[in-house]
Subunit: 122 residues, 2 copies
DNA sequence: CATAGTGTACTATGCACATAGTGCACTAAG
DNA sequence: CTTAGTGCACTATGTGCATAGTACACTATG
């Protein structure tokens, strides 16, 4: 994974995991890697990994059981809600960005239509 | 201005100024507030304000003259290029966000169409 | 009970960000 | 020349992020 130095690593990894959850690549109830393994996989520090799971639990996406590990929530409804929430967040960030440079929703749709499609089909 | 604690203040203010430039509220050649004034206006430290102007100059958006102040670039072409660059950035961030949660360009347009329009007309 | 895997807690270091404060140099205007 | 406004340089402090390393507690398994 390529980290953006402008964004905290724990946030980037947490987002990556949430994306895997809402796309079903990590189904409800799935066991996540242990903190030390997660650190190895992403090339980060175990302390940072622990913090990531704490954040995911705080958001209700995962549950942690001492001595057992961290697991994706069992509630498919929670996962669906998370997906919609992430979509809404992306849309409102996008529209706010465009509004800041004097563009509206129509302009937004036009921009997306004209956007280069390289690597958009995967 | 309301600062997001997750994003460096200098970045947020620099973005705000660039938005004012590309929307014409700060026309080419306009004089920007002095570093100390900028700090007062945004409620930040003069050191941070100085850094913001350094960043804007690094991006070619502003020019600084010692003893005189900092000014918006004279080149309307540069301003137009900046606006397009900011728009492209917003679009690609948005599409990357949606792709991360398993949505494509068609979904994006649909989401924007259905988006709540409260305070979208200004 | 012994072990491996796990979460949790703690100290310490380096870095960037933001703050506070001071001083100096340059420019234009009186 | 003096003054006000300005950019610029420097030291110092506090905070959050990320790292490194160590130690302890819980759980399941054999």
């Amino acid at each position: 994974m390529n980290f953006d130095p402008m964004i905290p690593i724990w946030l980037q990894v947490a987002t990556s995991i949430k994306q895997q959850i809402v796309t079903g690549r990590l189904p409800p109830g799935a066991k996540l890697p242990g903190g030390r393994d997660l650190a190895l996989q992403y090339g980060i520090n175990p302390n940072t990994a622990a913090r990531i799971y704490q954040e995911l639990e705080r958001e209700g996406v995962c549950q942690t059981q001492r001595g057992l590990g961290t697991f994706v929530t069992d509630s498919g409804e929670t996962v669906q809600r998370l997906r919609e929430e992430m979509a809404r967040g992306a849309v409102s960030r996008f529209l706010a960005d465009l509004k800041g440079i004097g563009m509206n929703r129509e302009d937004a749709i036009e921009l997306i239509r004209k956007e280069d499609n390289t690597d958009d089909h995967q």
